[in-house]
């Protein structure tokens, strides 16, 4: 029986949303685990939820990245397990160096909370394997520090290794300046590690996973969780 952990840090605030979707919608046994209680790599997959761990002090995710639980996450990364970082969870993975780059303050200097359209640019991760390349998903964002940044030469490497998973796009599926909510380089909304088992994204798929919360009652974020569970059930 597969089992998923949602890791909770002081200041996490989307942990219960992720738990709810995993348990009740995706119907996978899931534990909410306080970061200090995660002592070994005993789960089949991990979700680092959104929020404001340690008050975003120093930099969003920087302090949580030093939690001993992140060493377990690193181990699970090496063991090839699916790991999903949502919003602050993405920032933590970047700050821990598990994912490359940095997440900086939005170009508009404001907290942005809105629905975005994301284009799937890679289906090789456990979180996008049920999607199709080029397909778009409407998923909301809610962040002040979401501007993904990487030096241009490193960006080329990311592209070459197919690590760019999601891009903010217009209704015509084009990554335009208008569709970029935070100034992310190349409209990047989500990336994965080289191996593809760890994905981080700024948008909140857990907020787009039940019809009543989604535009036109289409819960387009749910496929991220369904993909993960499909991966787990097939034993990767």
């Amino acid at each position: 029986m597969v089992r998923v952990a949602v890791v909770q840090f002081p200041g996490s605030n989307c942990d219960l949303d992720a738990l709810e979707i995993l348990q009740k919608t995706a119907k996978v046994p899931t534990d909410l685990v306080w970061h200090k209680d995660l002592k070994q790599d005993q789960y089949d997959a991990y979700v680092l939820p959104g929020g404001f761990s340690y008050g975003d002090y120093l930099r969003a995710g920087a302090i949580a990245a030093t939690s001993p639980s992140i060493e377990i996450i690193r181990k699970a990364t090496d063991n090839g397990k699916p790991i999903l970082g949502i919003c602050n969870g993405f920032q933590i993975l970047v700050e821990a160096g598990i994912l490359p780059g940095a997440v900086l303050r939005n170009t508009g200097l404001r907290f942005v909370c809105k629905w975005t359209r994301l284009r799937i640019d890679s289906t090789r991760t456990p979180f996008t394997k049920l999607t199709h390349k080029g397909e778009t998903l409407r998923i909301p964002i809610a962040h002040n520090e979401g501007r993904y940044y990487l030096d241009r030469d490193q960006l080329a490497e990311l592209e070459k290794d197919e690590q760019i998973v999601l891009r903010y796009v217009s209704e015509n599926s084009i990554p335009t300046e208008d569709s970029n909510p935070n100034g992310s380089i190349d409209n990047i909304g989500g990336i994965c590690n080289k191996e593809g088992n760890v994905m981080g994204l700024m948008p909140h798929p857990e907020r787009a996973s039940i019809p009543i919360l989604a535009p036109d009652t289409h819960p387009e974020g749910r496929i991220i969780f369904d993909s993960m569970i499909d991966t787990l059930k097939r034993g990767r």
Binding site: R59, A65, A102, T107, L109, L150, D151
Partner: protein, 87 residues
């Protein structure tokens, strides 16, 4: 020699190629608008001031430099970090 206390400042700012919208806004919407056209560029950053016990200012600076690298006080993917001695 007994250690003395040194004040050390750490300044973290975005790399030159990473845009700094806060610095740009302060520059355009405050400084240039206020008539100070001699100011050609503004970068906003984060300042940490630490008191450090060490046997020399160089040792204090070296220790702070090491902790900035070890504990990722800055993210080398996007930031540059300057360490300077105040006293």
């Amino acid at each position: 020699m007994s250690p003395s206390s040194f004040a050390v400042e750490v300044v973290v700012e975005n790399k030159p190629l990473a845009r700094d919208p806060e610095g740009e806004t302060i520059h355009h919407n405050l400084i240039l608008k206020g008539g100070y056209s001699q100011v050609t560029n503004v970068r906003a950053g984060k300042l940490l001031r630490m008191n450090v016990e060490a046997s020399s200012p160089e040792d204090a600076k070296q220790l702070v430099r090491k902790l900035c690298d070890d504990l990722r006080i800055y993210n080398p993917a996007a930031h540059v970090c300057q360490v300077r001695i105040l006293t």
